[in-house]
Symmetry: C2
Subunit: 279 residues, 2 copies
């Protein structure tokens, strides 16, 4: 980590009474900074605001926007954004200090805002150009209709799933729900293409509604790609797909060329999405 | 909070890079300290150790035991345990500092150990003697067979459920799973008695396997009370029970005398468990 702010000032620590630590009572966003700006910034902030409403977290959009701008200005002035100008910014929004007990703190007017600046991860270009190998995880995704879709701080399912493998050639693992239906990757959303239709799982019971997932769906709409949001995506349907890709806000779109023993070429529509994103 | 240690030294803060904050990647225990000792200490430590094994958290039992003992000695010397000598100690065990990403940190030899001392909550004696009113929550409990039973730091379901009501006369809310089956309270486990059989939900898909729940089941065994661990406890079965009670490590056993419009007297077997616990 290269720089951190808490509520607008330099800070590397948080109270051990913070409910983000105690209960995972908060949200986060992972933003790509490149060429002098944050990619899809408005979509990230809109998701954060919508999540804060669902969790009843106090949230002032203008305060966070101003802090983020000042944070990046200062980082640039301090020479922290590097030659490439690419970095990752993480925002944590936590409900803040509580005592014991699940009841919200009384008289709470603002959430805790943490901003962190990280180096851009050094992903191989071949991930984007030649595709990646992924696997199925045994750890199921957590199911909760009241929390599904949110990028909240309760991520133990992704943690345990991600640590099922250590082979560096496998870049992602897919998580299934309790019914055995495919939901998402540990750090990405999943799309398949079958007969020119773009298909991605519905995330009404589990999973994170990624900003890049929404961007892919928007691009599909703009480019007249037929789209289906699938309630129950079976592993057989996934393995029978014509193309498979994963996406997130940091790496964009990566073609999936291997899943367990199944192999695919890099897909045409997958490459089209990469082009439409300008990557 | 009256006192806090991190890894054996006075500390009120934790790194914003801690994975407990980032992902809820850790466990916690809530202990009752009374009459100069922690109640059911061995059971709490055994659960913590078992949880650490399931989450692959580095954990040295003897280190934590020694710290806990020193922490309480120091608190007593500092006059923090009060006249009654009752207090609550919270332990958080977090995987510690990470960068970005769900993969476990490399070369990690120990988890972060947070100890916190709180005042004993001032519960009314009538809760124990005359019973409590509870309700059903709309927020479902999170379902994940890989995480069920653990007292981990992913507690957003309990947080959102607990904040569905603010009426101080309602002391607890019951959470159902995605199938509508009764699992637990937001801060307690649930038992019912029907035809002299003690029944509690099986927690293989969701819920926390409370230390007090295990203690109740042990006492039932010692006193030859027939017990059933029920896979799918329907709300109708709960409402048709002869007795209902909730339990946790801090308050012990509280009879449930009201659930929505349904009422019960304080149950005979419920009172027997209170006696067997010496409360």
């Amino acid at each position: 980590m290269k720089k951190a702010w808490m509520n607008g000032v330099n800070c590397q620590t948080i109270s051990i009474l913070d409910r983000g630590l105690a209960y995972g009572d908060g949200l986060f966003e992972t933003l790509l900074y490149t060429s002098g700006q944050i990619v899809l910034l408005e979509a990230h902030l809109a998701r954060l605001q919508a999540g804060a409403e669902r969790l009843r977290l106090p949230f002032a959009l203008d305060v966070l926007q101003n802090e983020l701008q000042s944070f990046l200005c200062e980082a640039e002035a301090e020479g922290l954004l590097g030659h490439s100008g690419a970095a990752v910014v993480k925002i944590i929004l936590s409900r803040g200090i509580g005592g014991r007990g699940y009841a919200f703190p009384q008289d709470q007017s603002a959430s805790q805002r943490v901003l962190m600046l990280f180096d851009h991860p050094s992903y191989s270009c071949s991930n984007r150009d030649e595709g990646v190998a992924i696997r199925f995880c045994d750890t199921p995704v957590s199911v909760n209709t009241a929390l599904a879709g949110l990028k909240h701080l309760n991520r133990l399912d992704s943690v345990m799933a991600r640590n099922e493998w250590s082979d560096p050639h496998i870049v992602e693992g897919l998580m299934l729900d309790d019914g055995g239906f495919v939901i998402e990757g540990t750090m990405s959303n999943l799309f398949i293409v079958k007969d020119d239709v773009l298909i991605t799982p519905l995330l009404h019971r589990a999973g994170v509604e990624g900003v890049m997932r929404a961007h892919v769906l928007n691009l599909a709409d703009q480019h007249k790609v037929e789209t289906r949001i699938k309630v129950n995506l079976r592993t057989e349907q996934l393995l029978d797909a014509d193309e498979v890709f994963i996406c997130n806000s940091v790496f964009g779109v990566w073609p999936v060329t291997q899943l367990e023993s199944k192999q695919w070429p890099v897909g045409m529509l997958t490459q089209a999405f990469q082009r439409w994103m300008g990557s």
